[in-house]
């Protein structure tokens, strides 16, 4: 083997503050020439032969024997020592605070992780940018304002859950790995809507104090599950419908591809949130009140967003196909509102949260402008 030349080798360590102690083990090894090999007799469950399924070797295929057991209480050592490995004495704690399975778990976390990895896409490669054609000014301005909103709000779903991720016991690594894919998805959403705003003769529009308030409240949620209710169930559920509306209103195939692909990603996030809350509420029914309180506030802020034109009008213009058909666009938005509320409540049902009696979202969009203002936002 050739000798690697290291630049200024004689200077290395010349000012070191820490003295290097020789390794007792290596001294013995070099003196005797006999390896220790004790670790070979100190393996965890041995003889495991995971078999790949038709889609390759997935996490579910390695849930075998003791390795497939996810403990209800995360390990007390609170380190990143892999679940199922032999844990030596003295591993330092990383101070995880979410150590109960129910606090983070979702039965579909591993499945969604694998799916997310398999269904990643590139906004540079997979969007047919070269097909983008100039749009009428009103449509381009509306699309750019919508993209401004989306590029503003999307990354919260990376920033907020990953704050909790570092507090999760490593025994629940499937959840952390799923959240890592969610962070990657949100990075792509942030990038693709920014790119779209800057790609067709427009630019960014106006940011939103109300959106920022809803993002701040997501940040401030007092627990991971409370945040999940607010973020994954209501916030991302709402954005999922927005992406579907985006697919529908897309004035070009470029926009359609963007929204459709984001929609796919977003439904994984909603799927995790729904299943996490199902697990949490089953194990700890009392948590329902905390989630209800979050949703009381989140629903109120969602309704407030309909009080500013830059949130309402771009979608109506895109829905109607231009300012000329603004009324038609508003009418369609009203019709879709019912679907948003219906699907949100269905997801709450699926999570095991009886939200219907407490929900302040009217099923009829006209209530938003017919009711006295303070009845809507109080």
């Amino acid at each position: 083997m050739g000798t690697v030349h290291i630049k200024d080798e004689e200077r290395i360590g010349s000012e070191a503050r820490v003295k290097l102690e020789p390794s007792v083990y290596l001294q013995k090894l070099y003196q005797t020439g006999t390896p220790d090999l004790g670790w070979m007799n100190n393996m965890a469950e041995w003889g495991i032969r995971a078999k790949p399924g038709n889609l390759g070797l997935r996490l579910k295929d390695i849930e075998i024997g003791s390795y497939g057991i996810v403990p209800d209480h995360g390990s007390d050592h609170r380190s990143m020592a892999p679940r199922g490995s032999v844990i030596p004495e003295g591993v330092p704690s990383l101070g995880f605070t979410l150590n109960e399975k129910a606090e983070v778990w979702a039965e579909n976390a591993a499945e969604l992780y694998e799916e997310a990895v398999a269904r990643q896409w590139s906004s540079a490669r997979d969007i047919p940018w070269s097909e983008l054609k100039p749009l009428p000014d009103d449509l381009e301005r509306a699309m750019c304002q919508l993209c401004t909103f989306l590029t503003e709000v999307e990354f919260i779903a990376a920033d907020a859950p990953t704050r909790w991720m570092s507090h999760m016991n490593q025994d629940f690594f499937e959840v952390k790995m799923f959240l890592a894919t969610q962070a990657m998805d949100e990075a792509r959403h942030t990038d693709v809507f920014r790119k779209r705003a800057l790609a067709n003769g427009g630019g960014l529009g106006v940011a939103s104090a109300l959106s920022e308030l809803s993002l701040k409240r997501i940040f401030d949620a007092p627990s991971f599950s409370a945040q999940t209710g607010r973020l994954h169930l209501l916030g991302e559920g709402f954005v999922l419908t927005l992406f579907r509306q985006g697919e529908f209103i897309a004035p070009s195939r470029v926009d359609q591809e963007i929204f459709r692909r984001c929609m796919q990603d977003e439904s994984r996030h909603v799927g995790y949130g729904t299943m996490h809350l199902r697990a949490q509420l089953k194990a700890n029914p009392a948590v329902a009140e905390e989630i209800h309180e979050q949703l009381d506030d989140a629903e109120r802020i969602l309704l407030e967003t309909f009080s500013v034109p830059e949130q309402v009008e771009p979608m109506a213009i895109l829905m109607g196909g231009g300012i000329k058909h603004f009324d038609k666009g508003m009418e369609m938005q009203g019709q879709l509102w019912r679907r948003i509320v219906h699907e949100y409540l269905q997801r709450c049902d699926s999570a095991g949260l009886d939200r219907r009696p407490r929900c302040i979202l009217p099923t009829d969009f006209s209530k938003l402008f017919e009711a006295p203002q303070n009845a809507v936002v109080s």
Partner: protein, 146 residues
């Protein structure tokens, strides 16, 4: 020649899906069982057709008439009148994909001409999770004769 919505017609789509391996691998795997429900137009003869489909990764592994929806246990049912399905297929035959507002997702969003039925929102959401795969599968219809 099988014609829409015979199971054999869907199986022909499935064979094209496998032949197009690279496209579907790039979209990523999908795992879902769903039903296509074709409702006769007013005044038309014959009853409605239910075709149960299973996508297992990158292949359509099953396409068969369904008598008992509960037994088939689909994640979701995509429902539309025959004329709506046929319009979509005609547009696909013409240009390889449906027109912008006639995609599966767009039609299901409006919910008038096409709608989804499901017992659980979480399972219905698979329609969105795998939407590109479902649309690309249907877009292969331009290459199925009959």
């Amino acid at each position: 020649m099988p014609s829409f919505p015979e199971p054999q017609w869907f199986l022909a789509l499935g064979r094209l899906m496998e032949a197009e391996g690279a496209l579907f691998q790039r979209l990523g795997f999908a795992e879902t069982r769903f039903v296509v429900r074709v409702i006769p137009d007013e005044g038309a003869n014959g009853g409605e057709k239910l075709i149960g489909l299973v996508i297992d990764g990158y292949r359509l592994s099953e396409a068969a008439s369904v008598d008992d929806l509960d037994r088939f246990d689909p994640d979701f049912v995509i429902c539309a009148k025959r004329s709506v399905w046929e319009r979509m297929l005609a547009e696909i035959a013409e240009s390889g994909r449906p027109s912008l507002r006639h995609t599966l997702s767009s039609l299901a969003l409006v919910g008038e001409e096409m709608w989804l039925e499901s017992s659980d929102q979480l399972r219905e959401d698979k329609f969105y999770r795998y939407n590109q795969t479902l649309q690309e599968l249907l877009n292969l219809a331009s290459r199925v004769s009959g």
